[in-house]
């Protein structure tokens, strides 16, 4: 117990003491989170009527963000594979950072789905044992299972590693490796199940495509690592953690291949729909060209395509990707591009036109956007705090009193 108290006090110190930049960053995030939560109280008291969603388009940017973040969470851990194959030196650090990012992303995912519910207070209806769980029939029940399992897994592994390090001990890799290895298929499963959630029903032609799951995985390998590349640079410039340039460039290369596959799959989809020209084409027309004068998504999706293609070119040319300015630019472009593609670009055309042919345009309300930004801010707060504690343990600066590395 005393042991734990010491750890707790040490953690609090770490979290509350930092550089000016750290304080500014946290203040900024807390402000956004506060605005978001204030907007959320409006939603709690008035209902989802404060959002832009209505019957014709019954899911919006909450679920869009959710889908995108599942990808980020999955990719963060899938990095274990290349990190291991290419022997990126301190693999433990990379695994650790990836898992902490996964934890933060999953927290955001869970917040986004909870905030999207009409009755979040009835969550116990979902809890096995208390409520009724329509497992294995409902794909949504699968998603609940895999996401929570993934969250638990990604919490346990880093906590164990860090706890050991805090005591200046080496983790027992005999216990650890099976978990790390298991986290790879688990990462694939969360994104696959999330894709199946959409592709499950023929009512929505835009989603009812077998290509959806592979596309999800490919685009996840773009968005997740893009975030990590930037996070790695910030981490190595502000802490004592060392991350090799090669590791970062290799990540860029992986992103390039993933984006190549993603674009290829996109072309396959576009070809099939446009060439066969059946009723299934309508949602795609709505997305890329506009339908019956409704073209709200058109500028967004073309922006996404422009961003993704440009970023792809930067990443595929070794000279460019080895220049940090270009690399970072490409990462930001890709992160935004994939967000559009997997967020609004995936969810809204699924509903437009509706199964009976109505074209009703969804647009998020201010409240909805503020709430979403709030959730992003909370997720980044979680990530920052996790790193703030984990990194000093990793570098040996934060140890059980008496065990500090000199």
């Amino acid at each position: 117990m005393a042991n734990f108290m010491e750890f707790f006090v040490g953690t609090v110190k770490l979290v509350f003491v930092g550089s000016k930049r750290y304080y500014a960053w946290m203040a900024f995030l807390i402000l956004l989170a506060a605005i978001g939560l204030t907007a959320w109280t409006q939603q709690l008291s008035d209902g989802l009527i404060v959002t832009g969603m209505r019957d014709p388009v019954s899911w919006g940017i909450y679920i869009g963000n959710f889908t995108f973040l599942v990808g980020v969470a999955a990719a963060a851990v899938l990095l274990v594979i290349p990190a291991y194959i290419y022997k990126w030196g301190p693999i433990k650090e990379i695994v650790l950072l990836g898992e902490l990012l996964a934890v933060s992303a999953i927290c955001m995912c869970l917040m986004f789905v909870t905030f999207d519910l009409g009755h979040p207070e009835r969550f116990w209806h979902l809890v096995p044992g208390l409520g009724i769980f329509n497992f294995p029939v409902s794909m949504l029940s699968w998603d609940v299972v895999v996401l929570n399992m993934y969250l638990a897994l990604n919490l346990c592994v880093p906590v164990y590693i860090l706890w050991k390090a805090y005591h200046n001990e080496h983790p027992n890799y005999k216990i650890l490796w099976p978990f790390i290895i298991f986290s790879v298929p688990a990462a694939v499963s969360i994104h696959t199940v999330t894709a199946f959630l959409y592709s499950a029903f023929p009512a929505r032609a835009f989603w009812n495509a077998s290509i959806l799951a592979p596309r999800f995985i490919a685009s996840a390998f773009c968005s997740g690592p893009s975030f990590i590349i930037i996070a790695f640079q910030i981490i190595r410039s502000t802490t004592k953690i060392k991350i090799k340039d090669e590791a970062i460039f290799k990540l860029g290369e992986i992103i390039a291949y993933a984006m190549g596959i993603n674009l290829f799959l996109l072309i396959s989809e576009v070809f099939k729909e446009y060439y066969s020209h059946t009723v299934h084409l309508a949602p795609m027309e709505y997305l890329f060209q506009g339908l019956h004068g409704h073209d709200g998504l058109v500028p967004l999706i073309w922006t996404a395509i422009a961003l993704n293609v440009t970023a792809f070119i930067i990443m595929i040319v070794p000279k460019l990707r080895k220049n940090f300015k270009f690399l970072n630019l490409a990462c930001v472009m890709m992160f935004i591009g994939v967000w559009i593609e997997k967020g609004p670009g995936l969810i809204i055309p699924g509903f437009t036109p509706t199964p009976l042919g109505e074209v009703w345009e969804y647009a998020p309300t201010t409240a909805e956007v503020l709430i979403s930004m709030g959730i992003w801010a909370i997720g980044l707060i979680i990530f920052t705090l996790l790193l703030k504690v984990a990194i000093p343990i990793e570098t040996g600066e934060f140890r059980k009193p008496g065990l500090e590395k000199k």
Binding site: I49, L117, G118, F201, H294, T366
Partner: protein
């Protein structure tokens, strides 16, 4: 024939502005200060943070897991609450399915004149929200003669007189699919198919995830985005737990073939009100029923039959 000038839409897409999405995002920049204003939706009867009134209500089990006694308690509690709220003697029934009955619907496209009387009879009978947004279980689609392409249909037609020359009308509501995708979708079994074939929702169990709406190929489901508006004087006090009892915001609802009527041998309100007798309803298992006659003697079809959801809702040309 009819000159119904009531507004027909939940949300009218024709007046919805273009590029709304971009506007929504752009608005955010100045949003922080305007947030309060933008969100104050015109909702007169707000239930505030909680739609729950008691711990009992919060801990209530799924309807299908309740014992007889528990059901009786819940129904009594609801009757008391609704009676107080609407100032009339509200009855909440739990009439069970009749053994061996399989309810089926048939709609005569030759007769339908598109007057939308069924739409409003349904709203009145089933205590739907009257505004913000208005909930309609029935959508009457207008087609040009010679096409049945849903995308070319118009549900917002509003001429002086119906039917219009060269047009025909197809009302669509929940098709009570035998293999209902909505039931498959629900993560917590808040929606299911009863023994008599009616697909119902337990409003007190639904968490409002709307996955069922994404799964439904017929737009059979509506969501209560805000607190439903049900004026006390228009409230129909003859209700069923699985049917037309007042709903709270944040749950899904749908056509139940007027379960409060049909299980007592009465016709659904839409069948009763139709001025041209286009709507037929009955028990498919009864060889003498009208729907059975139609099924055996007319050329019937089901919309989106290729999805194999096996609707118990047939269309025919009488």
């Amino acid at each position: 024939m009819s000159k119904d000038k009531k507004t027909v839409t939940t949300v009218n897409p024709r007046t919805a502005s273009r590029r709304k999405f971009m506007k929504g995002l752009a608005g955010t920049a100045i949003g922080a200060t305007l947030a309060g204003k933008a969100m104050a939706s015109a909702n007169s009867k707000k239930s505030g943070f909680l739609t729950i009134h008691s711990l009992e209500e919060y801990l209530q089990k799924n309807y299908r897991e309740m014992t007889k006694e528990e059901k009786a308690q819940v129904l009594a509690r609801m009757e008391k609450e609704y009676s107080e709220r609407y100032g009339k003697d509200v009855k909440v029934k739990d009439t069970e399915p009749i053994d061996g009955v399989k309810f089926t619907y048939a709609l005569d496209l030759n007769r339908c004149i598109g007057c939308r009387r069924c739409v409003y009879a349904c709203v009145d009978e089933n205590n739907q929200s009257r505004e913000n947004p208005q909930v309609h279980y029935i959508k009457v689609l207008q087609f040009e003669n010679g096409t049945m392409d849903f995308e070319e249909s118009n549900r917002y037609y509003d001429p002086e007189m119906v039917p219009e020359e060269g047009k025909y009308y197809m009302p669509v509501q929940c098709q009570h699919c035998e293999k209902a995708p909505c039931v498959k979708a629900c993560p917590i079994k808040a929606t299911w198919t009863e023994d008599d074939g009616i697909v119902v929702v337990d409003y007190n169990w639904c968490i409002g995830c709307r996955y069922c709406m994404a799964a439904c190929p017929y737009e059979g489901r509506s969501f209560n985005w805000g607190d439903p508006h049900l004026p006390a004087e228009e409230m129909n006090p003859n209700t069923h737990y699985l049917g037309n009892r007042p709903r709270m915001r944040g749950v899904v609802e749908k056509c139940t073939f007027c379960i409060q009527r049909s299980r007592e041998g009465r016709y659904p309100a839409c069948v009763e009100v139709c001025p041209v007798g286009a709507r037929k309803f009955g028990d498919m298992n009864d060889p003498t029923s009208e729907v059975r006659y139609i099924f055996e003697h007319k050329r019937v079809f089901r919309i989106k039959e290729d999805l194999l959801t096996e609707p118990k809702f047939f269309y025919f040309f009488g």
